[in-house]
């Protein structure tokens, strides 16, 4: 099978290898600070997902798949959305409304602090996982041909 889209270049490999962890860190940062600054699950998830695209572009699809396999994306895919749905059910379980945050008695914390916003952070993390895995699996899907 043809190895798609691969650039065998020393500079690319070195710089790419250096960039990937930073990208991932930045993605996680954006996810966790979504309620404080511009960003959130979608932006952060995309950044984190793109790190894997960069990795696969530089090192080839095979190593990329070894890092994050199809099964892994599939599990992340489902669990991210599932997590969101289950978080929504917390409100119902506590006798209040679906997806209810403050009204369901969830502590909000101080606005402006990292751990504040109650369900918002949990939701954002779920979305982040989902988006990252979606970006990766869509990339795999289209490139694999």
């Amino acid at each position: 099978m043809r190895e798609p889209l691969r650039f065998d270049d020393l500079i690319l490999k070195e710089v790419g290898g250096l960039l990937v962890p930073f990208l991932q860190m930045f993605g996680v940062y954006v996810i966790f600070h979504g309620h404080l600054s511009p960003g959130g699950g979608f932006s952060g998830g995309t950044v984190a997902g793109i790190s894997m695209i960069l990795f696969s572009l530089v090192f080839g699809l095979g190593p990329g798949l070894r890092k994050v396999s199809h099964d892994a994306t599939r599990i992340m895919e489902s669990s991210g959305t599932l997590w969101y749905g289950l978080v929504g059910l917390v409100g119902v379980l506590r006798g209040a409304s679906f997806l209810m945050n403050r009204g369901a008695g969830i502590p909000l914390g101080t606005p402006g602090r990292l751990f504040s916003g109650g369900l918002i952070l949990l939701i954002t993390v779920g979305v982040g996982i989902k988006v990252a895995s979606a970006i990766i699996s869509l990339y795999y899907l289209i490139v694999e041909d």
């Binding site: 099964d71 599939r74 599990i75 895919e77 489902s78 959305t81 599932l82 749905g85 289950l86 929504g88 059910l89 409100g91 119902v92 379980l93 506590r94 006798g95 209040a96 409304s97 679906f98 997806l99 209810m100 945050n101 009204g103 369901a104």
Partner: protein
């Protein structure tokens, strides 16, 4: 906690189906035989929930949920009134039956790897339609529309053939254009009203109508065109025949039976509740848009039937027949009289039952014999008696013979046409029934009165899990033809709440 479950029942119905669909990929990978029971279980639960809601809604009660506890202008509202409950019942009931059929059929039509994803898309589509039915917020409606159009395209694309892929692509492009128009229209409405909730938008629209007449009219036109594309109203139906005929049979049943209906429902809901004054008003523009709807519906009915007449492929014929039948629904919407509206709604149910029955029966024939052309069905009445009996019932109901459910919608449309002083409606429908007879009866005639090829005399009925949904749908066609009272109770309640005539 029980109390909160009851209070949140509408959302939970959607959530159950959604969560089941989220689980499907995992099950497909690690516990393949859990897929089908989970999917079926979720739909049965949703059906039970819908029935419970319908029992409350039929009395005129409206079950309202404020998502996250935020009351309307701030948050998203979800409500189940009689109209929504009716749609929920139709959607979950028919989807449930089709899913049961799918369990046996789909392994035959798709590669093994795709089956899990097929269930995922199926459940997503159903959940999205349920969400659309109960949405009371423009943007919420839009997001559900997108889920449903992607889900619907996925069901078409699931078959690994060139035609299905092309059809899905065409469908996706036109659906995306349609939702682009809808989204633009939502933008216009938001701009002039500052709200997204149906009730608030409607209230503001009456206040600002003098200030922004063009904006509101353009928004309404875009809404109508956007939904008409998705519901396959006549000149905008070009995607439908390919998509519905090349898809796997259960997909065709869902698409023809339910998906185009839910867009018609969404348009109906928006026209009557959001644009109430602008749509139902007595001024020239309002009557112009009603007449346009009526004209397009008429063209749909006649054009769809004429195209169906010349098809050689059974499923393609059924697909064109759907174009004609969706015209009935829009005819009722455009008549804007109580009976017309009731006819539109009851036809949503009736056509869902009939078309699902016909597509599943056609699918069963393809499953067993691989025959898709109408001329090849000779002798099928002896080879597949139950399937062909169901097909016959569906066809007779489609023609609209009395004591079949199709007649009930037909009659209500007649009455609606008389109420609206549009006697032409009666002529159109009678003509359409004749055309229907012209393309359905030859199939039945061949199936029963022409001997099939000599070597194919043995009986080859499909397995029971496929027969049961077909049979139940066929019986429902008769049941709602002989005893439409329960459906009509819900529909009349819906009409009463929709417009204060």
């Amino acid at each position: 906690m029980m109390g909160s479950v009851t209070a949140n029942l509408p959302v939970l119905i959607v959530a159950v189906v959604l969560i089941a669909s989220y689980l499907m990929p995992l099950f497909a990978r690690y516990r393949r035989d859990w897929c089908a029971p989970t999917a079926a279980g979720a739909l049965v639960a949703a059906f039970a929930g819908s029935a419970a809601l319908a029992a409350r809604a039929v009395t005129g009660e409206v079950v309202i949920v404020h998502l996250g506890g935020w009351s309307p202008p701030w948050g998203i509202e979800v409500a189940v009134d009689a109209l929504t409950a009716f749609m929920l019942l139709v959607l979950t009931g028919v989807a449930m039956l089709i899913l049961v059929y799918t369990i046996s059929d789909i392994g035959h039509e798709l590669a093994a790897r795709a089956v899990g994803w097929y269930y995922t898309s199926f459940l997503l589509l159903v959940a999205a339609m349920l969400g659309m039915a109960m949405a009371r917020d423009l943007f919420n409606l839009y997001v559900f529309i997108e889920v449903s159009s992607i889900g619907a395209c996925a069901l078409v694309a699931s078959r690994d053939t060139e035609e299905a892929t092309e059809a899905a692509f065409k469908y996706l492009m036109l659906a995306a254009l349609g939702s682009g128009l809808v989204l633009f229209s939502i933008g216009l409405l938001y701009q002039v009203t500052g709200n997204l909730n149906f009730a608030f938008v409607a209230e503001e629209l009456t206040l600002v109508y003098g200030r922004y007449p063009h904006v509101i009219w353009v928004a309404m036109c875009f809404m109508v065109v956007g939904f008409a594309v998705k519901a396959a109203l006549f000149p905008l139906h070009v995607w439908l025949p390919d998509a519905h005929s090349f898809a796997p049979s259960p997909s065709s049943a869902v698409l023809s039976g339910l998906v185009i209906k839910i867009y018609a429902y969404a348009m109906l809901r928006l026209l009557y509740t959001v644009f109430g004054t602008q749509f139902l008003g007595a001024d020239l523009a309002a009557s112009l848009i009603r007449v346009t709807l009526l004209t397009l519906a008429t063209l749909s009915i006649i054009g769809g039937s004429l195209f169906a007449l010349v098809q050689v492929d059974v499923k393609r014929m059924l697909a064109y027949s759907s174009v004609a039948q969706i015209g009935y629904v829009f005819l009722g919407v455009g008549l804007a009289t109580p009976s017309g509206l009731a006819a539109a709604l009851i036809h949503v149910l009736n056509h869902a039952l009939i078309k699902a029955c016909l597509f599943l029966a056609a699918g069963a024939i393809i499953y067993r014999t691989g025959k898709r052309r109408t001329v090849d069905l000779a002798g099928m009445g002896r080879r597949m008696p139950v399937t062909m009996a169901a097909f016959t019932i569906g066809a007779l109901a489609m023609i609209g013979l009395p004591l079949f459910n199709g007649f009930v919608s037909k009659w209500l449309l007649f009455v609606g046409g008389m109420q609206a002083r549009q006697p032409v409606v009666a002529g159109v429908i009678i003509l359409s029934a004749l055309l229907n007879a012209l393309y359905y009866l030859p199939i039945i005639w061949r199936a029963y009165f022409t001997p099939g090829p000599e070597q194919e005399e043995s009986q080859v009925e499909v397995p029971l899990p496929m027969l049961i949904p077909i049979g139940v749908l066929a019986l429902a066609c008769i049941l709602f033809g002989v005893w439409p009272a329960p459906a009509l109770a819900l529909v009349n309640q819906a009409v009463a709440t929709l417009v204060p005539w």
